[in-house]
């Protein structure tokens, strides 16, 4: 996040996503790892890179400076990290000693039975997102008509 160049930041983000995918696999949830790679690395990262390209016409090395409020932000972030971390660490989660792997069949079954409604809603959400994105990002009509 502290990289000066926005493209460098985007690349770093992709690396991060990749690492997370690896972590998911380590945690015994390969399906999530696969989804992570597909969605984040495959779609969202590309999306972001496209957005950067579309908006930085000819100026890909544009520096990305910090706010004036950077110190307050750092303080807030530190506080958040500290509090949550302390809370998380000091709580007894009743964790088992070893990891439990994800059962793919069970997930698939649950997705279409217990969690069918969220599934449908998420698909609606995606539909709305697509439509909205298309609408928002189109070129202004007046220029084309004037031409």
């Amino acid at each position: 996040m502290t990289l000066r160049n926005i493209i460098h930041s985007a690349i770093a983000m992709m690396v991060c996503f990749g690492a997370l995918a690896g972590m998911y696999a380590l945690l015994g949830a390969p399906i999530v790892a696969a989804a992570q790679v597909l969605i984040y690395l495959g779609a969202i990262s590309v999306l972001i890179l496209f957005a950067i390209m579309l908006t930085q016409a000819g100026d890909a090395n544009l520096p990305a400076p910090f706010h004036r409020q950077v110190w307050l932000a750092a303080l807030a972030a530190l506080l958040i990290v500290g509090l949550i971390g302390w809370g998380a660490v000091s709580t007894d989660w009743g964790a088992a000693a070893a990891t439990v792997a994800v059962d793919l069949n069970a997930i698939a079954a649950a997705l279409f039975t217990d969690y069918a409604l969220p599934l449908e809603i998420v698909s609606l959400l995606l539909l709305a997102a697509i439509i909205g994105a298309i609408f928002l990002a189109r070129r202004p009509e007046e220029d084309e008509r004037a031409n």
């Binding site: 706010h67 409020q69 307050l72 932000a73 807030a76 972030a77 506080l79 958040i80 509090l83 949550i84 302390w86 809370g87």
Partner: protein, 735 residues
């Protein structure tokens, strides 16, 4: 008889309504008045307008200014265009003050053009005359028949326990006052026909006079404190209306206001007293109150008595509320005669006399009454010594004589006080009307320094005024002697020796200043303008007749009523009213406290009579020496007073001992200062607080709106801060 009693006040009320509704249409006053002489005397362009500018008024300190060229020119017949605004139906046009003259100038000025016709007096005077006849019937019935009448008209207020009836009671006290009020009232009405006969507002005058008669009669006839209070306030109102009759004259308007305000101060106390009576006794009817007054504790009774007396102090112009009476001389002379000599100012005396059971229960209050009475008597007499306006001399004389009456009431000499009230009403009314006749004859001049030698030209006025003055000075045979001496004798008998001595001194002073006035006015050489002198004449019969009529009781009333002292007719009549209070005010160790010997001509009683008469005679003699024989003597006397105090004392006396100035400073200027301070407080502190809150709100708002930057990152920071707070709350504090 009951019907007559109801009619006595009702007739003047009807007269008032008649005068107001129909009166204006009955008079016809021409637009242009009589021709003007180009005189140096006051501009008397008498267009018969109301609201006269009394050019004749002289202030105490200086000479009367000779009208300037413009003033004379303005009042010439050629300046009459202002009359175009005037109309002749009695309403007042917009006339400049210099052109208005309310004084009657009957007969001496040649008139070109139509004469004014006055008919609006007929009904009011007639009704008052009728009321007088009925009053005499009732008087005879009460006094000679020994009856006491009580008439209830109807229930006025009936609210739970509080019940007030419109009811009239006539006992001998009321009857005595009826005598004075009705008689002098009728005579003043007749007198006014002549006195006001150049005035535009003729009908208005009679309307107010009738209203006043109604109010005063209501006051003395009422049988409960509330009716008395109603009448009391109403006479105060009428006093205002009548003093300020020439309302366009600023000094008159101011005097009317002053009278009303000062009266009001006393009325406030009176009102509180009435409320106290009601709170403590639950009734306001005289009979019930007097029966139960003994049940209250001393402090309460004293308080009630003092509050009632406060009202009397205001109404009857005693110190310190005396200041309105001399200024009230701004009103027409009939007003002064009626209200400020014979009737309204007696209301205070009537109140205290009527409430004698209350006062008898409170020795402290009686001391206060007597003390104020004595002090006012000598105070007012000391001022009257140096006054130069005829009416002011008589005004202060009235204050002084009223003080005598309060003095008498305060020492328990109830009958003597009422006796003096009756005789004073007659001779003071006479003196005032006589002075009006003098002013009339001298074409408006009121300053006795500019009069003189009028007795050949105004014989009847002179004679009657001398009669009145002899009465006032307390010379034997005349009415004033018997009443005044009885007061002094009672003072001596009851043990008030110091007050007695003061009373004798005041008697001397009274005689002195009265005859100073007589000598300066009627004897010696005329000191005014030559042209005025040429037209001095006796006044019209309507004005002289009341003088003569009043001279009769002035001479005879004492003889008829007061002989023998303490045993005369009037004592018999009033005995019952004051029966329970006879013993009040008697100091232990005095003559009256011991065995009562009754009056002895060759004993103490006779001695006291002699002292009183001598004091009066001495005063007259001194006045004669100083104002007839040797006019320079007063000045030499003033110079010879040790320690060089003479001129200062003279100045103090002329300036009324600066009481008015003190009041002006403390109350008027002080009031203004207080008002300014309060205004400052309201504007700066209270408004400041309110505005301050608004200012704070504005500043706070101004600060707070800077939070809304419109930038996402700042809002995000806010969210993060909130998140931190929540985390702290849940993880650290763990509620």
């Amino acid at each position: 008889m009951e019907l007559l009693i109801v009619l006595i006040p009702a007739l003047p009320l009807a007269g008032f309504l008649f005068a107001v509704l129909v009166g204006p249409r009955l008079d016809r006053v021409p637009v242009h008045g009589h021709a003007e002489h180009g005189e140096e005397s006051h501009a008397d362009a008498a267009h018969g307008d109301a609201g006269a500018a009394d050019h004749d008024a002289v202030d105490e300190s200086g000479f009367r200014p000779i009208p300037s060229e413009e003033e004379q020119a303005a009042t010439s017949p050629h300046a009459g265009h202002a009359d175009d605004l005037a109309n002749s139906n009695g309403a007042d046009g917009v006339i400049p003050p210099e052109l208005n003259d309310g004084l009657g100038q009957a007969g001496h000025v040649t008139e070109d053009g139509p004469q004014p016709v006055y008919r609006s007096w007929i009904v009011p005077v007639g009704l008052v005359g009728l009321s007088w006849i009925f009053s005499m019937f009732v008087f005879a019935g009460v006094v000679f028949g020994g009856n006491e009448y009580h008439v209830t008209l109807y229930e006025w207020i009936g609210s739970g326990d509080f019940r007030i009836d419109i009811a009239f009671t006539v006992d001998s006290l009321t009857a005595m006052l009826l005598l004075v009020v009705s008689t002098v009232g009728l005579l003043v009405h007749v007198y006014s026909i002549g006195y006001m006969n150049r005035d535009r507002g003729f009908w208005r005058f009679f309307a107010y006079l009738n209203l006043f008669m109604f109010s005063m009669l209501l006051l003395i006839l009422g049988d409960n404190f509330l009716l008395l209070y109603v009448g009391w306030e109403a006479v105060g109102l009428c006093s205002y209306l009548l003093i300020g009759y020439w309302y366009k004259k600023p000094s008159a308007a101011g005097a009317a206001k002053k009278a009303f305000v000062v009266n009001r101060i006393g009325d406030f106390g009176f009102g509180l007293g009435v409320i106290l009576i009601w709170v403590n006794l639950g009734t306001l009817s005289f009979r019930e109150v007097f029966e139960q007054i003994g049940t209250l504790e001393g402090g309460t009774v004293t308080l009630i008595a003092l509050l009632l007396f406060a009202g009397a102090v205001g109404k009857s112009a005693q110190f310190p509320l005396h200041v309105w009476l001399p200024d009230a001389m701004e009103g027409p002379t009939p007003v002064s005669a009626l209200i400020h000599a014979a009737t309204m100012v007696n209301a205070g005396v009537y109140l205290v006399a009527r409430a004698n059971p209350i006062f008898a229960e409170s020795p402290a209050a009686m001391w206060v009454v007597a003390g104020i009475g004595v002090f006012t008597a000598i105070f007012a007499a000391a001022i009257a010594l140096t006054q130069n306006d005829i009416k002011k001399v008589l005004a202060y004389s009235t204050v002084s004589q009223l003080a005598y009456m309060f003095f008498a009431l305060g020492i328990g000499a109830w009958v003597a006080a009422i006796f003096h009230l009756v005789s004073h009403g007659f001779f003071k009314g006479l003196l005032f009307m006589g002075s009006g006749s003098v002013i009339h004859g001298a074409a408006g001049e009121q300053d006795i320094r500019f009069l003189g030698g009028m007795r050949e030209r105004m014989r009847w006025t002179y004679r009657t005024m001398v009669v009145g003055s002899l009465a006032l000075a307390g010379i034997p045979i005349f009415a004033g002697f018997f009443s005044k001496d009885e007061i002094l004798a009672e003072a001596f008998n009851r043990g008030y020796y110091l007050f007695y001595v003061i009373g004798v001194v005041v008697a001397f002073m009274t005689a002195f200043y009265t005859f100073r006035m007589i000598y300066l006015t009627f004897h010696g050489r005329w000191r005014g303008g030559r042209d005025v002198f040429r037209q001095i004449h006796e006044s019209a019969p309507t004005m002289v007749a009341p003088l003569v009529i009043l001279a009769v009781p002035t001479i005879l009333a004492g003889l008829l009523l007061g002989i023998p002292p303490e045993g005369g007719l009037i004592h018999g009549w009033l005995e019952e009213v004051f029966a329970h209070s006879e013993a009040a005010g008697v100091l232990p160790g005095s003559l009256a406290a011991g065995e009562h010997h009754g009056f002895e001509l060759l004993g103490i009683g006779g001695l006291l009579l002699l002292v009183g008469a001598s004091a009066g005679a001495a005063g007259i003699w001194l006045a004669y020496r100083w104002y007839v024989l040797d006019p320079e003597a007063p000045k030499r006397f003033v110079q010879r007073i040790p320690f060089g105090l003479g001129p200062g004392m003279y100045a103090a006396s002329v300036n009324k001992y600066y009481v008015d100035d003190v009041y002006q400073l403390v109350f008027a200027r002080g009031g203004v200062l207080l008002a300014n301070a309060l205004w400052w407080f309201d504007a700066k502190v209270i408004d400041g607080a309110v505005n301050g809150i608004a200012w704070i709100a504005q500043r706070l708002g101004g600060l707070l709106r800077k939070v809304q930057t419109g930038r996402v990152e700042n809002y995000g920071l806010g969210m993060a801060a909130g998140l931190v707070l929540v985390l702290i709350a849940y993880l650290v504090i763990r509620p």
